[in-house]
Symmetry: C2
Subunit: 213 residues, 2 copies
């Protein structure tokens, strides 16, 4: 494939919205989920995030990034206020509603209401899950990490509740995300389903990797 | 789908390797790339990472997480020593070789050599790109952020060089990753290609979203 070369100076000169599309695309395919929160008065909030990443399995930690405030980020305020939030996988049936949560609604408006996604409360967890989501996580806030390079804030939480379809969970702990209809995204606005190529064995220096399927 | 509910106490009791598979799966589909580095003596290193995430577009920042040392992380040491590294998208032709770089080789061994991936040096950038990769990024180290919750280290860098196939770059800045054969991963060892569902218009409170395709 013939490649274009774009240098630092050229990146800086690209028109703002075009640069946002370009840089967001460069990260590759991303995890895309809905983060559910509620404030102390019971006002719900639901927001789509594509910056989720795995930090560790013991304890089970997951992180994501908030862009700078202002404007005030309802989800961030709620997380710091209540210390709990949910992460809900997005599937093919709800990705358009999920995308709609990125619109700038007034804090008094619940994105559950305007998108017709159903909030679900269970097992005494304070934050709302997305009922239509097949993989739901209850998260406890652990750490707020400021990123000085661009004034964003990273939020780190511990996975304390897991809801996963019975028939998607393998004996070795692997979850078949395709069977759960979880999708992925690229750039700012592109959604994709997946086709598994393979599962590969644990890599060792002097051993050929094999298929686990 | 009938869901299993796994609580915090149950998560803690899961056997270690099974928990690693489970928690890594819960993040959803992930960006998976090869990070190329070199030390001051010219010893190359290549390592697969699936914790890459977008931090911001202006300046264009990208982050990923290193597990705790020891063992010593060759890539981390090289990044801190030379301040530059590359991020290379993985495609269907090289994902098995990419997976093999996760084996624990001696620091003196170049993963380029053992996997037969070709290192490529261009435009005076000190770190090696992966020649077989269709989307290649040259990164300048910016910030090292310790995550106290589990002693991992987040490395943040600025994208200063971009190589992207000419026919994959849209006028609005979006990159067609499928056309570039970029793949995604889930869990520790599962690789997937994608099928685009749609690109959706910018969401606004009182406007229906439409397809951009």
């Amino acid at each position: 494939m013939t490649k274009i070369h774009i240098t630092k100076i050229q990146i800086e000169q690209i028109e703002k919205q075009k640069r946002v599309h370009l840089i967001n695309s460069l990260c590759g395919f991303k995890s895309v989920t809905l983060v559910g929160t509620v404030d102390m008065k019971g006002n719900e909030n639901l927001a789509i995030f594509s910056s989720l990443f795995h930090i560790g399995a013991n304890p089970p930690l997951i992180g994501f990034v908030f862009r700078p405030s202002p404007p005030e980020r309802d989800s961030l305020r709620n997380i710091l206020e209540t210390r709990f939030y949910t992460i809900n996988h997005i599937n093919e049936s709800i990705y358009k509603q999920a995308h709609q949560t990125s619109a700038r609604y007034d804090p008094s408006i619940s994105e559950f209401d305007v998108t017709n996604l159903k909030s679900e409360y269970k097992n005494d967890f304070i934050a709302p899950y997305v009922s239509e989501s097949n993989i739901q996580l209850g998260i406890e806030f652990k750490e707020k990490v400021p990123i000085s390079a661009n004034n964003t804030i990273m939020i780190i939480g511990e996975i304390v509740q897991i809801y996963v379809p019975e028939n998607c969970l393998h004996d070795d702990g692997f979850i078949d995300l395709e069977k759960a209809n979880t999708i992925t995204c690229s750039g700012l606005d592109s959604y994709h389903k997946t086709i598994q190529l393979d599962r590969l064995s644990y890599a060792k220096p002097d051993k050929e990797i094999t298929s686990l399927l």
